[in-house]
Symmetry: C2
């Protein structure tokens, strides 16, 4: 039982947010490539960024900005050029982009946050950006969430958008989000981006804490090919326009409700990214329980979801529990192998660290059906691993490894 | 300039070692599947084993044995059944195998070390093993190195064997080695095995230290698909039959010479395993320099060599420096991106953290030639990364990611 329901509107569902997207001529293809999200009023801003040592200019820019002032009015995102590994000139471009948008919106430039996705080593096409910004601002609307969701995509096959609503103090409180993925495993492309809007009133410190918690149970638990990108960014704005009283205590009922909704939005987007992974035919969900702590459980879940052997076995519809056991064993988390239990869907394959007899054909059929989305009406393959009696649990999401993954990532000889 | 030269004979090149291999009926295919290495006299024994929490019975057996007594007379290795995740019964099988061999060789059973490779969850076919052991012992010979090298393979396309000789105190001192790989990425198969023989006289503590050092610069620096196995074992015997005085000081000239030769043997075998990785068309060598320490350099080198994006770009002959930079950045080792320099073969692609103009077609041709082995007569793609002014250096080896990798690992639906 959840306290909230899904609603229409994506990032423009929460009160006081406008968005838009357009084709600004940044992508050679001419597809939409420039997105803008604006809050009517100053919003509390929180961010989680790539841990990579090789970072895009926008990542360094946002980190600095959020250090100086954890509030914002707008997020500008361009697709086509990642503006990563572009040095001082790339940073100057980022700064100019913020200035240009600030003038067009008639706000301070330090109220702007930036994100980029595209080819590493390429600077933003500033000439095109300069031309586009006035028009971009003119097309802002309360129904622009989808246009923004489309404009941030690169090789994504589908746009990724969601909005949830709950009730606090008899008022509707909403969280919306959009994301782009799969591009991170496109040649030279390198980005997982997600933007979240919220009309709850929440304190700065709490909002950052909530976002970090949500990221650790969603975006930080997905893996397509293990390649953390130079541009990964998750930015969340909370503008308080639901007019509810400020949430300041993490233990309050309201905070728990908001945390749950924020985490649900991030998990929905994270799963959508994994399901849309390059060449993927299905989403793989790995549930780990019985670990000594949650961190260890999450680590093992992610290691299994990221194993090339497990991923290619699932693509082959092979109920290969040995690879799941081997991946769990190498995650760097200690457990007693004699306690290990492994389930694939409803099929128990290993118990007390020893293999069980099971119907291989039926298990293979489960994989076929799950991948085809004809099992439980969802294209999700479920792997459940229990390590023992510990209270630690964790979930990770990934996808299978197909010929198309190699095709997409190999056959772009420059 | 090295102090040693390559010679014939593999693991039976060092004095006082016998070996053999035979088809004992453990593999359904009827291929050779049982190998034995024996030293005429008690040999100092050292081992490095998988760090996985899910281990084969032979790994637990050898760890215990080497703790009790760091010497050995013989190594028995079976292929076909990994005897991993087989619990108490699997351990009993291992103990019985050692007893059977000890009786046939008329030595103490605690002088036997064991290794297994094959299907996880399957116990050794003891009936076949019991029948085979007397014949196995009868076929031991001073020229049996190749037969042993063949009998430990699983999906390997080639056997992996080497022997080196140097001179200490005017006497020849030899190190020989055999290995099997690629099987670790075969469905259900899960093993990297290597056995080293040496006729130098060396102290127990020093021999283990030397082997650990050698492993850290060889087997621990290769990656085919990142899946550490349940059975990985490296075992080295030194029997002192070169009749040179005992080497006890790591700083002595003799110790340095022996360490160099041992490391060279391990690197030769490690590179052979990477080159023979499932579906691989070439060996990829990643050299990292300028790091603050060697460990960080090795970690970055291994992260680049293991990146699915880098691997598939190389398969596509795409000089994709952006992926190399991204992989270096996510290795968890801190450096200043503005110092980053990246070379592919002789092509300088990034300097001071910024992209350089280079001849893409020529660079792609380099990849084609290197992969075809027509470049410098070696099928090795060289990636060089410099992080700055630090003194830390490291090398890692991997292979490209091809359709065949997915094919081999997916199309074995059980």
């Amino acid at each position: 039982m959840t306290d909230w329901q899904e609603i229409e509107g994506g990032i423009t569902a929460p009160k006081g947010f406008l968005a838009t997207g357009m084709a600004a001529g940044l992508k050679p293809s001419g597809a939409p490539d420039l997105a803008l999200i604006v809050s009517d009023t100053e919003a509390i801003a929180a961010g989680v960024f790539t841990t990579s040592q090789v970072r895009a200019a926008c990542v360094d820019y946002c980190r600095q900005r959020l250090q100086d002032k954890a509030s914002s009015r707008a997020i500008l995102c361009n697709a086509g050029q990642a503006n990563a590994a572009t040095g001082e000139l790339g940073l100057q471009d980022a700064i100019e982009s913020a200035k240009l948008l600030a003038e067009a919106l008639n706000i301070d430039s330090d109220a702007i946050l930036l994100a980029s996705t595209g080819v590493i080593g390429q600077r933003i096409r500033m000439d095109a950006l300069r031309k586009a910004i006035p028009q971009l601002v003119n097309t802002l609307s309360e129904t622009g969430g989808q246009a923004a969701a489309k404009a941030i995509t690169t090789t994504d096959l589908v746009t990724k958008s969601i909005a949830l609503e709950t009730v606090i103090e008899d008022r509707p409180v909403r969280v919306g989000g959009i994301a782009k993925g799969s591009g991170m495993i496109h040649p030279n492309m390198a980005t997982m981006l997600a933007f979240v809007t919220c009309d709850a009133a929440v304190s700065t410190a709490l909002w950052q804490e909530m976002l970090t918690r949500a990221a650790n149970q969603s975006f930080n638990q997905i893996t397509v090919d293990g390649d953390t990108s130079t541009n990964d960014s998750l930015i969340a704005l909370a503008n308080g326009q639901s007019r509810t009283s400020a949430i300041t205590d993490m233990n309050s009922k309201e905070a728990q409700k908001l945390q749950g909704m924020l985490t649900a939005v991030c998990q929905h987007l994270a799963k959508a990214i994994a399901r849309d992974g390059e060449g993927a035919t299905c989403l793989v969900e790995v549930q780990v329980s019985g670990a000594s702590d949650d961190e260890g459980a999450r680590r093992i879940a992610k290691t299994i979801a990221g194993s090339s052997l497990v991923k290619s076995a699932i693509f082959g519809r092979d109920p290969n529990w040995g690879r799941i056991a081997a991946a769990a064993g190498r995650a760097g988390v200690s457990f007693h192998q004699e306690d290990l239990q492994i389930k694939l869907g409803d099929f128990l394959m290993m118990e007390n660290g020893q293999p069980l007899a099971f119907d291989r054909q039926a298990a293979s059929n489960y994989l076929k059906q799950a991948a085809a989305g004809t099992y439980l009406k969802e294209d999700t393959v479920l792997i459940s691993v229990c390590l023992g009696n510990g209270s630690g649990t964790g979930i990770a999401w990934g996808c299978d490894l197909s010929y198309d993954y190699v095709k997409i990532n190999a056959e772009y000889t420059t």
